[in-house]
């Protein structure tokens, strides 16, 4: 007799049909007849497939959703997704098959007499590939659905996606394990003056190869894949974005390695810093400041903490140690499945579509602990990023690469 399976054997299992049912319940509570998702984060969170082309998901009041993507990629998205081929459709520049016609035809099937409420995703973000409905798309859909009312409803998905599920957390842990493989590869490559003659782009490539071998799907970050900086580029003011350049690594300079892996749409993102010897005492002073700050920050995250409370504590420490002028006064950014990379929590802060500084962290929220230290006049800076899981009484940094700034 076959053993009865009482649990999911895939540690990375996520119950996507249940996610759809939870969205549908919220739609019902909000008076929304059909949901039109367009943001990359919504597509990842509902489809379990990466959608690099403009895509939409139509979620009816009950039953399976239907995704639309550019026809050249629809078969692949269907193959990756949990949905069958009849629920992942392609659009193309053809009569009846352009994205507005194809999507609005399906929306109309869920709007009796063409009347009802369509939930859409509108807003803004510093993050370019957010995927909010554009003004032109909005006008086209409104023209195609003249009797329907289009209302902004992204908060449904935002609320549901905030607390991470066990399978999602397991995927994030694996993505971070892969990132640590990349860091180990870089660390080995630069030892014993191995960095001499190496460029930032080459370091990015070394890490990428190691991470791909370990199972990473791509270096997902829209900020240039693996971000590598050396010398003065580490200390650019506010410089938390450094796509690798062709600059050669040089002795006596700081060196920052910020690498990214993706595992089943969940994201690894960890930065590690080095001093390429010989280092001066002043460089070591900067390095100690930064490591101590990161250590304190990781000990401070816990449920009940907010971004503003945390920033106050951290900046007090920076002031006490007389390096506050070098810190970017922000210590985290949001993270979720591919496309969810910016705001933390809901859109309920004083500045629309920015993190609410009074957002209260809860257990099983995930964020990127992110710090940028930049002393431009001395051409030195450091970056720390690590996905952290808020636990019952603290936080779990998902990258386990040892914290430190080593002299190489």
């Amino acid at each position: 007799m076959a053993e009865i399976q009482t649990h999911q054997v895939d540690p990375y299992f996520i119950d996507f049909p249940d996610r759809i049912r939870r969205i549908q319940k919220r739609m019902h509570e909000s008076g929304i007849d059909v949901y039109l998702g367009s943001r990359l984060r919504t597509l990842s969170w509902t489809l379990d497939a990466f959608c690099p082309w403009r895509s939409f998901i139509v979620i009816p009041p009950e039953g399976l959703p239907t995704a639309f993507t550019f026809v050249i990629d629809a078969s692949r998205v269907g193959d990756d997704s949990w949905l069958d081929a009849d629920h992942v459709l392609g659009y193309a520049p053809m009569g009846g098959q352009d994205q507005i016609s194809a999507v609005s035809d399906l929306l109309l099937r869920h709007l009796p007499g063409g009347r009802g409420v369509v939930g859409i995703e509108s807003g803004m973000a510093p993050y370019l590939p957010e995927g909010n409905l554009t003004h032109f798309e909005y006008e086209c859909f409104q023209a195609a659905l003249p009797e329907a009312r289009l209302v902004n409803a992204h908060d449904i998905v935002d609320a549901l996606a905030m607390i991470k599920e066990p399978g999602e957390i397991a995927r994030f842990r694996e993505a971070s394990r892969i990132v640590d493989v990349g860091h180990q590869e870089v660390w080995q490559a630069i030892q014993n003056k191995g960095y001499c003659g190496m460029t930032e782009t080459e370091v990015g490539g070394l890490a990428a190869l190691a991470m791909r071998k370990a199972g990473s799907e791509w270096e997902w970050s829209f900020t240039g894949g693996n971000e590598i900086a050396s010398g003065y580029r580490t200390g650019l003011a506010g410089g938390a974005c450094t796509p690798a350049s062709r600059r050669e690594l040089r002795p006596g300079e700081p060196f920052m390695v910020d690498i990214h892996a993706m595992f089943r749409l969940c994201l690894g993102d960890h930065s590690h810093n080095y001093l390429l010897g010989p280092a001066t005492d002043r460089m070591r002073w900067h390095a100690h400041n930064f490591v101590d700050l990161v250590d304190l920050c990781l000990k401070t995250y816990r449920p009940g903490m907010t971004p503003s409370l945390l920033a106050d504590e951290m900046l007090d420490f920076c002031e006490e140690r007389e390096f506050a002028e070098y810190m970017v006064p922000g210590f985290e950014h949001g993270i979720g499945m591919m496309g969810d990379e910016w705001r933390i929590g809901m859109n309920d802060g004083p500045f629309p579509y920015w993190t609410n500084p009074d957002h209260v962290y809860q257990e099983n929220e995930l964020l990127i602990c992110a710090m940028q230290y930049a002393c431009t006049e001395e051409s030195i800076g450091f970056r720390y990023e690590n996905p952290i899981l808020i636990t019952a009484d603290g936080c779990e940094p998902l990258s386990k690469f040892p914290l430190g700034i080593e002299e190489v």
């Binding site: 081929a85 992942v88 459709l89 392609g90 053809m94 009569g95 009846g96 016609s101």
Partner: protein, 132 residues
């Protein structure tokens, strides 16, 4: 040679015979599907539909409908004149779709894989001597 009134029951019968005779199941990729073409603004002012059904690559039905046609996997809608021009080889069906003169409803991914089958069908249908 007999000529047939375009999209009349006689034309449909002739279409069925020619499709069966000239397109093997292999050429039709053993497809099992259905398609309905809606003709708007016919010369008599009516709208008509031609319904095609294929089973394992064999044409199983070609029928003419005034008003509601049976449900089909693919629906192609356009003016009678557009279809007539395609039938007379004055216009390509792909060009008619790309310019929006024809409107296709149905799974675009599947439609792409069946495009060559539809091309072969259109070539056969274009051989029917027709009066427009």
């Amino acid at each position: 040679m007999d000529t047939f009134q375009y999209i009349s029951p006689e034309w449909a019968q002739e279409a069925m015979q020619r499709l069966r005779a000239e397109l093997s199941a292999e050429k039709m990729k053993h497809v099992t599907s259905s398609m309905v073409t809606y003709y708007t603004d016919c010369p008599d002012g009516m709208n008509r539909a031609v319904y095609y059904r294929f089973v394992d690559g064999a044409i199983d039905e070609v029928s003419i409908h005034e008003g509601q046609a049976p449900e089909a996997e693919f629906r192609i809608t356009g003016e009678y004149d557009t279809f007539a021009r395609i039938s007379r080889a004055e216009m390509g069906s792909r060009s008619a779709l790309m310019s929006g003169k024809l409107k296709l409803q149905g799974n675009m991914v599947k439609a792409l894989s069946l495009a060559s089958v539809v091309d072969r069908m259109n070539k056969v249908l274009a051989t029917i001597p027709s009066r427009y």
